[in-house]
């Protein structure tokens, strides 16, 4: 613990440097020759008020996409991670498949997968698959984010000491029981912060579904921008995305802190 005087001094320095930085940046921006134009086209209060309700309504679609995708990602990624952790030569094809999958979907830009599936799949003309762009947007996000999240799970599974498995097996648990009752509960708890981090990314990437024609917040803000040639609607969308991200970020911080407290207290992780 730092002494009180020292702490106050640091706070003062931090405060001063913050003020200096933002004042300098503010002055540099507002004195730029194009600032009046930028201000009226990006920060128009009247335009903000006019576009915000509509963009906020469209943002409900982002939330819907996010919530549905998240459920499927959690389940599918865990399945992939388990596949990849299967031991022994018999399971090599499944392991290989999981690796190829992770390489493929982590390597492809999200917007490309969304465009290919969203435009391509309905164009097949099969009557038994949905045509909804929201559906295909969600499918694409699930495919991509599952690749990332499965790696997070795998890191968690790998971080569990082999002695845990050995102990469980020696108690007479089967391989499946060991995985379900001993390894995964510990592994998942450890990776919750990085998982949530991925979900913050997912929250933002829901905006890409707009490229398929679905009217989510970003697409709505583009519509408004194109109608009036004023970019302030983007600000409305940005505010909403940030507002949705902050609670998730603080929740992640809180979980990390709680986890650290518990481990330092010597409790069971």
């Amino acid at each position: 613990m730092r002494s009180g005087g020292n702490g106050r001094r640091s706070v003062a320095i931090a405060l001063a440097s913050t003020v200096v930085f933002f004042v300098a940046a503010g002055v540099a921006i507002t004195h730029a020759p194009g600032w009046p134009e930028v201000r009226s086209q990006f920060f128009d209060w009247h335009e903000f008020k006019a576009t915000f309700p509509e963009v906020a309504r469209a943002f409900l679609l982002n939330i819907k996409i996010f919530c549905i995708a998240e459920v499927f990602i959690l389940a599918f990624a865990l399945f992939l991670a388990v596949l990849r952790s299967l031991p022994g030569p018999v399971f090599f094809p499944l392991r290989a498949l999981a690796i190829v999958y992770a390489d493929l979907f982590r390597g492809m830009p999200t917007i490309l997968v969304i465009a290919m599936l969203g435009f391509g799949a309905p164009a097949l003309g099969l009557s038994y698959i949905p045509k909804s762009v929201t559906f295909w947007g969600i499918v694409s996000l699930v495919l991509i984010y599952s690749a990332y999240v499965s790696e997070v799970y795998r890191a968690g599974i790998d971080s569990i000491h082999p002695s845990q498995e050995a102990a469980a097996r020696s108690l007479g648990l089967s391989r499946g029981q060991t995985l379900r009752r001993v390894i995964l509960p510990q592994a998942v708890r450890r990776v919750i912060p990085p998982l949530l981090n991925d979900f913050i990314g997912l929250q933002k990437d829901t905006a890409l579904v707009g490229t398929l024609g679905a009217i989510e917040a970003f697409q709505q803000s583009q519509i408004d921008t194109n109608a009036t040639f004023n970019f302030t609607a983007y600000l409305s969308a940005a505010v909403l995305f940030v507002a949705a991200t902050i609670p998730l970020a603080r929740f992640t911080d809180w979980l990390v802190a709680r986890d650290r407290r518990r481990r330092q207290a010597g409790g069971v992780a």
Partner: protein
Amino acid sequence: MRKKLLLLAGGVAALAAAGALATVDRAAATTAASCPTVSPGELTIGTDNPAYPPWYAGGTHGSKWKINDPSTGKGYESAVAYAVASKLGYSKSKVKWVYVPFNKAFAPGPKSFDFDINQISYTPARAKVVSFSVSYYDVNQAIVVNKGTKIASVRSIKGLRSYKLGAQLGTTSYQFIKSRIRPSQSPAVYNQNAAAVLALKSKQIDGLVVDLPTAFYVTAVQVPNGKILGQFENTGGKATDRFGVVLQKGNALTGCVNKAIGTLRKNGTLKKLQRLWLAKATGAPILK
């Protein structure tokens, strides 16, 4: 029909050429000072890439332009652009085309073009940000559907309300759907023409609302199984939908371009060019 068209084309070209020759020298002396351009001695015109028919025609000749190269002088907008250029005193070789994505046409900051001609509809809100020229084309919206689908038998605006409609981002077609058709399902909005067309083909949307000349191109080339269900009357007065070229806000060139377009309208050049390039885009039933 085609022969007639060709004859007409020849006639118009000859007329235009003669007109151009007569006016170029006289105009050149007077316009340079009062009508400044971004690169002196040249007229820089912007449009989007790909350049779609019937606004642009004549192919690409291996240039960076897709579908059509605007510098061919063919297609309605290309022809109008060169006619305006000639009125301003720029011969064909002094006209330079630059690629301007739609968003870039109105982004703040100095513009890379003197004017942008890209089927941009005038609206009062847009005119606060950029300068619009007077109309070089008064446009009607139209709806394209797939033949043999349920929507294909609709005969009124009211009848369209229950269907899933789509439009392209940045067009007044979207505004038209929202304010005039008022469908029960929220319309889809596509960032590119290609995406909108694919959505119609794969029946993700029942109908695509575009301007009438584009509708003819869509049904003739892009969606072979498509048909123009009908066009919507330009309501006149304030709601009139019209294309203008876009210039930097307050650009002194605006007045010169307006004068040029005014002359082209008065002497019948615009009409002739419309007959030449947009002739097909008139005969579609009107939906009320």
